[in-house]
């Protein structure tokens, strides 16, 4: 049976959540959207019904957060709780119903990004962990990991600096470049800690799009009960149930890989 990180919300039944919850985590501009755009059609081709969701996409609070951030007026605790509201709404109204219906839920970030952002802003880690203790444990978390030196050209040369992605609320006196460097470096450090604690599968996001996609396919195939693996992988001598070495490609990527999309700014 599925579990939460400690607290069970009223009215939520954890039985029969037969779908799979797959998380793609990573910092701003690391290429999550590009991968998600490839993963969805690929999964659908295999016959999986897919729901995707991501931060600020709740009906209740999504628009409110975006509106509030335009004015840069939110305090740190307020912003953190606003995100938690958005997440709770999506959990109840998008993620859980989809899992109950047997869907693969692909989520662009999960509680970990929200926790990392809050901790970088100096909020109490115990407090933030308690808030998200009602979240469902996912089936897998794929963390697209990148160093700040590889990240900077990607972000800057595609869309420029964004106020929030640069953590300008934390370093208002710095220029955007300095602030971005500091902010993203501390964010990445938080992610590394979380990666250990929550057992992320780490993928090197400085690789090219195709390599990353192949690794994600391999990892996701493993999560989906090997259903895809049986169909597409060349049978191995002896037993087809033998575990595949991590990171080895599962299927050839037949689709043309588009150039990395210029992703939207931080949600």
């Amino acid at each position: 049976m599925r579990e939460t990180y400690g607290v069970l919300l009223p009215g939520i039944d954890l039985a029969d959540l037969t779908g799979k919850l797959i998380v793609i985590e990573g910092t701003d501009g690391v290429g999550r959207s590009t991968q998600l755009h490839l993963l969805r059609p690929w999964l659908e081709q295999q016959g999986h019904a897919v729901v995707d969701t991501g931060i600020t996409r709740s009906e209740l609070a999504g628009k409110g957060i975006k509106k509030a951030k335009e004015g840069h007026t939110l305090g740190r605790i307020t912003l953190t709780l606003f995100y938690a509201t958005d997440f709770a709404d999506r959990l109840k109204n998008q993620i859980i119903p989809a899992l109950r219906a047997g869907f693969v839920v692909l989520t662009d970030r999960y509680i970990y990004s929200l926790m990392a952002r809050a901790m970088v802003r100096g909020l109490d880690p115990a407090w933030i962990r308690n808030i998200y203790s009602y979240a469902l444990k996912p089936d897998a978390v794929f963390y697209l990991r990148i160093g700040v030196d590889d990240l900077i050209p990607r972000v800057v040369f595609s869309r420029g600096f964004d106020y929030w992605e640069s953590g300008m609320d934390l370093h208002p006196s710095e220029d955007m470049y300095e602030s971005f460097r500091k902010y993203q470096s501390s964010l990445l450090a938080q992610f590394d800690t979380l990666a250990q604690e929550y057992d992320f599968e780490v993928i090197d996001a400085s690789a090219d799009v195709r390599t990353i996609f192949t690794q994600l396919q391999s990892g996701i195939a493993r999560v989906l009960d090997g259903r895809i693996r049986e169909r597409f992988a060349a049978p191995e001598a002896g037993s087809s149930e033998k575990p595949r070495p991590a990171g080895s490609p599962v299927i050839e990527v037949k689709e043309r890989i588009p150039a990395p999309a210029v992703a939207a700014t931080e949600d």
Binding site: L9, A61, T80, K92
Partner: protein, 227 residues
Amino acid sequence: MKRYGEHRFPGKLFVVEGIDGSGKSTQIMLLNEWLKSEGYGVVFSEWNSSPLVRDITRRGKKKQMLAPSTFSLIHATDFADRMEHNIIPLLKAGAVVLCDRYIYTAFARDVVRGMEPKWVRELYAFAVKPTVAFYFRVSLEVAMKRILVGRKGFKYYEAGMDLDLSENPDESFRLFQGRILDEYEKMIAEFDLMVIDAALPIEAQQSQMRQIVRGRLTQAKRLRVAP
């Protein structure tokens, strides 16, 4: 992030709590008038009043989109906005801040809606501990008599209709308030709430309140110019 009980500000924070019909809003209004006449810098902060979050809460309630979790979190968001932008800066400046409802309202309501008591208390760990939290204790019967005079029907969440206690809004409201009352009773010792007998005459309650508040006003700033 400072936690409940760790804040040290020159200002003073007085809050009133109690079920609907306990008379707490009348009492804090009278306290406000008195403090102003005494020359204190008094600011009144209401539950659910942050302009930022208000529209979302209102829409969520109107469309009945709120689950216990989102009901709890959206109110905490609203409260955090008031705490960060309003209450804390005012207390730093030495003001007397008055709140009609505070975190204890959330503890009572959210727990009745099925949220874990420990989770909700930790959620509000960023709140400043009040100088005094007055709890206006009243029986359900007396409160219902006061409320039902001149009132036509309850709103969906106000009556706790989301809890499926009864299909009749008046009956649902009564059952819901009864459970809230039980939660308040549990919190008296836990949070050292100052109990005021809300069945007493209004004047008697107000005089008790003023006596208690007077004893706690050291350091709060008086305005130099007479009102």
